[in-house]
Symmetry: C2
Subunit: 414 residues, 2 copies
């Protein structure tokens, strides 16, 4: 295992950036704050992390994060570190401790953010990657081209199994491709998972028998490992075609124990992402974080949406969507399907297509479907028409002239 | 299940704090950004989160976090929300999605931090809590009073199994109570777990046979669920007495799958804690975060140390140490043993005892033991003597007059 793990960081530091980077490398490998016997040159050669690149990109007068060393200025730099595979082997949990462990609180830094990771191919041997991805999702949903038009069960919580099933039926009749549980709804006493799955699949299987179209429903089975596996097995038995997991609620080891068992596409929800990312100079970039989840087996990755109701800007949303389509390795790309959601309507379709460059995605709208002035069927149609227009290079306003559902959406939500 | 889950937050917002708090409650329960059919008063009564308390505590001119709504001032407030147990039941993964999910990135907030959580007793039925805690750790280590004097294998990585075992033997002969693997060392090709465990336990079992003292060694078995369980079983077979897990590397579901299986004290490492906590107005307070891990079965919780090498201040360290000793419920306290480490020597013992108020802890020093001018045995003795002095109400300097190991430490590290 001669290849090395590489990680890119954005740092901010009052000390010499080179010294700060060496401190990172030392802390995350064989360094000690007091020299100890046994830290021989041979050991360092075998185990030490290395600073592979460093580029100062600017400076600020005030530190982004408090508590660290104080200086007259705080320089920002891009840094790349590398580690020998011999330290950890191809293990995602131990990779996390190495590239994102006791780093962020080092005194030398007033800012530290993990931006990207590049992994030796041995990780690709050790981990499954998405088993279904774009192709498998299209096959199971019967959507051969264009985005899957999706929605979320709303209200997020409060419905019982039968009410959820009734809503799923209404959405199926409205022509929807994809429905997901809310991340707040897994197996609460007011809407037990098994009852909900049975009730919803009864309706969706009936619909599929009548129409030939099996709506993909991502059942939120987030829970402990045994619970997730058992719920998955029930889904398989019921003919369901997708399982949803909240990544930050479950963590890497639990997710892997599930994904190695799963025979369904995994719809990966990122709730909690804000605490990992919203401080500009701390935490994780989506590119680094999502690579690990793709490798671990996530088929669909949430990336927020353009003009969303959260604080994330559009450029960040687009970068996230592009990143999940970037191959991890040429011969094992681990590409996931981006899921656009939050405040979405037909209005954002054209720009989403233009900036992302493809339609291999799930575009999920809540109010944008249910609150369409002509009802949910028009809501679904309006999104589909908006993507048809975009993919044909026709302006939405022009396409709307002959497509009343789109017209209604542009008027209501534009 | 009529009791409610409660969570306390620190928020910062340019909008009316009451409105912002209502938005949080809505987003994390039955609210929708466009009103939808089915959101009936009965459903809200059954499922909605409530704002239980709100206190404005100040304001700032500039937002702590970017990307959100803009205002003339940003008010800070303490907010308590509550949720009905019917929404999720006693499930830690789903609790995380509820109290720490899609909240932190809401546009209404320029800061949002989860400070504390109070859970219905049903969570105490559903989860194990620490199986060993203070009493079990004292029993297995044979340390009846005072702290366990501990250390970390250093260099963190680079030693093979035999070198690690040789160091463990040296530390055992020096009188150490507790040794832990570094969080960077689990099962790397250069130091495979099984070989390391066998080599180290051969030495420590020999030492125990000769002296009657079984040094507690926390073997870092962080990995996937099956790996962790298998490594645990080997540890049991070898007569080892502690297993270490890096919490953020593994996550809640994986940790629970391990802790429900474990028959050893679990030494919980918090590496990565910085990205969850270092931005003052974002993320998690240790009190909230550690409660969930205690409930999930963590016996030893890392809390950093006074005058540590990181950016965390002493008041925060003390608050963390106190929080893990605060009962979750009177009849199921789930108290964990705090682990002090990072830049520790005999010098910090007195203040640690004075501010924490007890000695039921692990005090781990690296250089503070290995770099003692009179060697590791004096290093261990110096820590033990410093705690003896503190617990007897004698100033370290006075005690040092008749205790040369402590004297040497105060001179070298003071």
């Amino acid at each position: 295992m001669s290849e090395r793990i590489e990680a890119d960081y954005l740092i901010e530091t009052p000390v010499e950036p080179e010294r700060a980077a060496e401190a990172m490398a030392g802390e995350q490998s064989s360094g000690t704050f007091v020299p100890v016997p046994g830290e021989t040159p041979e050991l360092r050669e075998r185990s030490a992390a290395r600073v592979e690149a460093l580029e100062v990109i600017g400076e600020v007068a005030e530190p982004s994060l408090g508590g660290g060393a104080v200086g007259e200025r705080y320089r920002r730099a891009k840094v790349t570190l590398s580690w020998p595979m011999g330290n950890i082997g191809p293990s995602i949990p131990n990779l996390v401790a190495t590239v994102a462990g006791n780093l962020f609180e080092l005194r030398q830094f007033s800012g530290l953010r993990l931006c990207d990771i590049r992994l030796p191919r041995a990780f690709g041997e050790a981990y499954p990657g998405p088993r279904f991805g774009i192709e498998g999702t299209r096959r199971l949903s019967g959507v051969d081209e264009g985005p899957l038009i999706g929605t979320i069960v709303k209200p997020s919580v409060g419905f019982g199994p039968e009410e959820t099933a009734a809503l799923a039926g209404e959405l199926a009749r409205a022509g929807i491709d994809f429905i997901k549980d809310d991340e707040l709804q897994s197996d609460g006493p007011n809407c037990p998972f098994d009852d909900r799955a049975r009730a919803v699949m009864r309706v969706l299987n009936d619909h599929a028998e009548k129409t030939g179209k099996k709506v993909m429903f991502a059942f939120n089975l987030t829970g402990e490992v045994d619970e997730m596996r058992r719920r998955h097995d029930l889904l398989l038995e019921l003919g369901a075609t997708c399982a949803m997991v909240s990544l930050n609620s479950v963590g890497f080891a639990g997710f892997l124990a599930f994904s190695r068992h799963s025979e369904l596409p995994i719809h990966a929800h990122r709730c909690g992402w804000g605490y990992l990312s919203r401080a500009e100079m701390l935490g994780w970039d989506y590119t680094a974080w999502s690579k690990l989840w793709r490798l671990a087996g996530a088929d669909h990755m949430h990336v927020n949406g353009l003009r969303n109701k959260f604080s994330e800007g559009d450029a960040s949303v687009v970068a996230s969507a592009l990143s999940v389509g970037t191959p991890l390795w040429d011969d094992k790309p681990c590409v996931a399907m981006p899921v656009f959601s939050s405040g979405q309507t037909a209005v954002q379709a054209a720009e989403t297509f233009r900036r992302v460059g493809h339609a291999d995605c799930i575009h999920a709208a809540g109010g944008g479907i249910m609150a369409h002035p002509d009802g949910p069927e028009a809501g679904v149609a309006s999104l589909r028409e908006a993507w048809e227009a975009a993919r044909s290079g026709v302006a939405a306003e022009d396409y709307a002239a002959s497509h009343p559902a789109l017209k209604g959406a542009l008027e209501a939500f534009g």
